[in-house]
């Protein structure tokens, strides 16, 4: 027997096969239907945005890791995922170089500056988007498509909606509704939030790449739940809070759930491990907080959308949440009683 060759290490001696790369790949798989569909709907310009954003994110990671003389970890797929997520939050008509810069910003500013994977405070993809959004706001106002430009989404419903919102040229559904509710524009006749349900679920050309189909995002979310990559808490409490507050405000909760970045944010961004709380209870608090901030931003700021800044804002609170909202410790109830009776 080759005794001297026995491996001696401490327990446990078996490991769950899960690893970082698998997790990242699961998320990429979950995002692939909506990505492919976005390419189909938006065509070549979307492909450039996607390619530039992923290339930028990967390059950012590579350069920083080389510069810091630490192992390059492109093989864990995390930079690729960051680039993909970023692309899905960008307008399809964005110039490719803006997408590329956003990608670089995502991994350099959003991740490596903080010390790399696991150390960043803010969601890297959203940091990249925020940089582009603040630097070139015009592209985010007009970078959206109209259905006339894209064959597949050009249905009668789409034409009808675009006919009515022509006054607010190129408006995303959220923007259109904001104009209407704020009274900034005369309510287009016959346009209701409910007219949007179907396009939002199935083919929505008036938004960022990832907003093309709420249905595909939800399917992706179900896949992540089933593979246990994410839990339900953040997503459900986030969307639930937005829906409830929206209903209380007297607006259409389903529309406000499906429109804009809420679903992609709640399913894929807010659930980012590094930038969300560790414990389950903390996740609930975080989700509710996200909902409240999103609602505030959407209805009480000048911007129709609020998901990006809500997530970035709540990201900043995560250390605080982690500090004060811990899991219930076994045996802590007994201690409390003892203290009480003594």
């Amino acid at each position: 027997m080759n005794e001297h060759k026995l491996i001696v290490s401490t327990s446990p001696h078996i490991r769950d096969p899960i690893n970082t790369r698998r997790i990242m790949c699961h998320v990429i798989v979950a995002l692939s239907p909506v990505t492919i569909y976005a390419l189909v709907i938006h065509g070549l310009s979307a492909l450039w945005v996607l390619a530039a954003s992923i290339a930028g994110a990967a390059l950012g990671d590579f350069v920083m890791q080389k510069g810091r003389r630490i192992p390059v970890t492109l093989d864990d797929c995390s930079a690729i995922l960051t680039g993909l997520l970023l692309a899905l939050t960008l307008p399809p008509r964005l110039p490719w170089w803006v997408a590329g810069i956003a990608g670089l910003a995502a991994t350099i500013l959003g991740k490596q500056m903080f010390g790399g994977l696991g150390h960043n405070i803010f969601n890297p993809a959203l940091v990249g988007r925020a940089v582009a959004f603040v630097s070139w706001p015009a592209y985010f106002a007009t970078g959206y498509a109209k259905s006339a430009a894209i064959g597949i989404a050009n249905t009668a419903t789409h034409k009808a909606i675009e006919g009515t919102v022509d006054i607010v040229n190129g408006a995303s559904p959220l923007a259109a509704m904001k104009y209407i509710y704020d009274g900034a524009a005369k309510a287009p006749q016959g346009l209701f939030a409910s007219n949007y349900y179907k396009p939002l679920l199935l083919a929505n050309p008036w938004g960022c790449l990832g907003e093309v189909s709420a249905l595909l995002l939800i399917l992706g979310g179900i896949y992540l739940l089933a593979t246990r990559v994410i839990g339900w808490r953040i997503t459900v409490t986030y969307v639930g809070t937005v829906a409830v507050l929206t209903a209380i405000t007297g607006r259409d909760p389903l529309f406000y759930t499906l429109a804009g970045g809420l679903l992609i944010g709640a399913i894929f961004m807010a659930t980012d491990y590094t930038t969300s709380p560790l414990a389950r209870r903390g996740k609930v608090v975080y989700g509710v907080g996200l909902g409240v901030v999103t609602w505030l931003l959407r209805f009480w700021s000048n911007n129709p959308e609020g998901v990006m800044f809500a997530i970035l804002f709540m990201n900043a609170l995560v250390p605080l949440i982690d500090r004060y909202i811990m899991p219930r410790r076994y045996g802590s109830a007994g201690e409390a009683k003892e203290v009480h009776s003594s």
């Binding site: 290490s9 001696h13 969300s276 560790l278 811990m326 410790r329 045996g331």
Partner: protein, 467 residues
């Protein structure tokens, strides 16, 4: 309370590795012969080690006391064979390092020590006499922890015990020795729990079994019918068999931090321990052999063996047809908490519930040089104690001792769920163990300094008060 409770109890946290019990679960317990020499270490339990009571050249018989101790937390050690003491010398021990051991040349006749006698019927025996008998039999916790059983059966008066739980969860993957005992010897297990209940004055007795062992549950239920002993079926999930988890799930009671089961009126024993107690009361033979599951992908015929204590791992594996290929790792116990061995020449001891041999591939995961945490929260979700393993691991790594204490590192039961589940393969429980040891060392040091200071000041307590 003749009925059995068919409830499925939930566990908080925990993990669900493949149970891998299939290779040995169907194998009846088979007694094997001891090798030509047995090596019986003088430390086979938690507490004070034994002092050898025999020397080179002494004749011993099966059941002869060969080591004992004056300490309360200790248990005597008996010879598992008849023959002659060859030597008393330090030998490799399965818990690491070298430990003084009595090495006996087995004469192969297994003559029984004539002084051995059953202690008499337990039904109307004083609890104190039962405890003495349990101690005399050298019985310790056979689940692996090896805590002297008579100590567990001696709760101080201020902690009345109402419930005895027999732990048959056997939540470690691969191991099947408790399962086989429940299946083959349910009556003896039942007898054992009743003896324990009498010793501690408990009215309620529960045999707890995970629901991946339906045959054992059935056997135990039919044996327990009409006895008042309950059989509880537990949801299969590691570490369902950890004392604190078991108590919480069965009784909805939580052992306070730093406390023992007796603080909530409970005594937990392993089914093997109960069986050993019952055996002693019926046969008068102390603990000289135990059931050991020999299993793993590289063992030719995974089996459940009744092994004389002191038998080498190599001999036990030989009795199972040997290895099909050189093993990568040999573990005493299960894969979650067991101890990796560096030689096959270590002996089977009282705490050896299994010998697990894994192939090189199975153990070939890489551990990162520098722990990385992607903050996925998995370790937090699986920790049955409600701790935050990732913080504990990183604070231990960075030597932030006071933070470790603030996060209750001492509550960690070292189940290993956090390490098992971590996607970045952080050696969390390893780091936590180091942190715990260091904290304990510092506390000891501080206590000693404090004592010295008091001595110097010449008073006994007031000096330290105003700090």
């Amino acid at each position: 309370m003749g009925r059995t409770s068919g409830l499925l109890y939930r566990i908080r946290g925990g993990v669900h590795p493949s149970d891998s019990k299939e290779p040995s679960a169907g194998k009846e317990i088979r007694r094997i012969e001891a090798p030509a020499t047995v090596t019986i270490p003088m430390r086979q339990h938690i507490g004070a080690p034994c002092v050898p009571r025999v020397g080179k050249g002494d004749e011993v018989l099966v059941g002869t006391v060969i080591g004992d101790s004056e300490a309360f937390v200790s248990a005597p050690i008996h010879s598992s064979v008849s023959g002659k003491v060859a030597r008393v010398a330090p030998q490799p021990h399965p818990a690491g390092g070298e430990v003084l051991a009595v090495i006996i040349e087995n004469d192969g006749s297994y003559r029984r020590d004539p002084n051995l006698e059953p202690p008499g019927p337990w039904e109307d025996m004083e609890p104190e006499r039962i405890r003495e008998a349990v101690r005399a039999a050298g019985i310790v916790g056979l689940g692996g922890a090896a805590f002297p059983t008579h100590v567990k059966l001696s709760p101080p008066g201020e902690y009345p015990i109402d419930t005895v739980i027999l732990n048959g969860a056997e939540c470690e993957p691969f191991l099947t020795s408790d399962y086989r005992l429940l299946l083959e010897e349910p009556d003896s297990v039942l007898e054992g729990i009743r003896i324990i209940m009498r010793a501690v004055g408990a009215r309620r007795g529960i045999v707890a079994i995970e629901d991946n062992k339906p045959a054992a549950i059935k056997a135990m239920e039919s044996s327990a019918r009409g006895s008042g002993i309950e059989v509880a079926s537990l949801r299969t999930r590691y570490p369902q068999g950890a004392e604190k988890v078991l108590i919480a799930n069965l009784l909805r009671r939580e052992v306070p931090s730093g406390g023992l089961p007796m603080h909530v009126g409970v005594v937990v024993n392993n089914v093997g321990t109960a069986h050993a107690i019952a055996q002693y009361f019926s046969q008068g033979m102390p603990l000289v052999e135990r059931v050991v599951t020999v299993t793993g992908s590289v063992v030719r015929e995974p089996s459940n063996l009744l092994v004389p204590l002191g038998t080498s791992f190599a001999h036990a594996v030989e009795a199972c047809g040997g290895f099909t290929e050189p093993p990568g790792k040999v573990i005493m116990g299960g894969p979650m908490m067991g101890l990796a061995q560096h030689t096959m020449e270590v002996p089977v001891i009282k705490g050896t519930s299994g010998i697990l041999a894994l192939s090189r591939e199975e153990t070939g995961y890489s551990v990162p040089a520098e722990p990385v945490c992607i903050r996925c929260g998995r370790c937090v979700d699986v920790c049955p104690m409600g701790l935050i393993p990732t913080y504990l691991g990183s604070y231990a790594h960075n030597e932030k001792w006071d933070l470790l204490h603030r996060l209750h590192i001492e509550d960690c039961i070292e189940c290993g769920c956090c390490t098992y589940t971590c996607p970045t393969k952080n050696p969390l429980v390893q780091l936590i163990k180091t942190g715990k040891a260091e904290l304990a060392r510092r506390k000891q040091q501080a206590d000693r300094r404090e004592a010295e200071r008091r001595e110097a000041v010449g008073e006994s307590g007031e000096a330290g008060k105003d700090e």
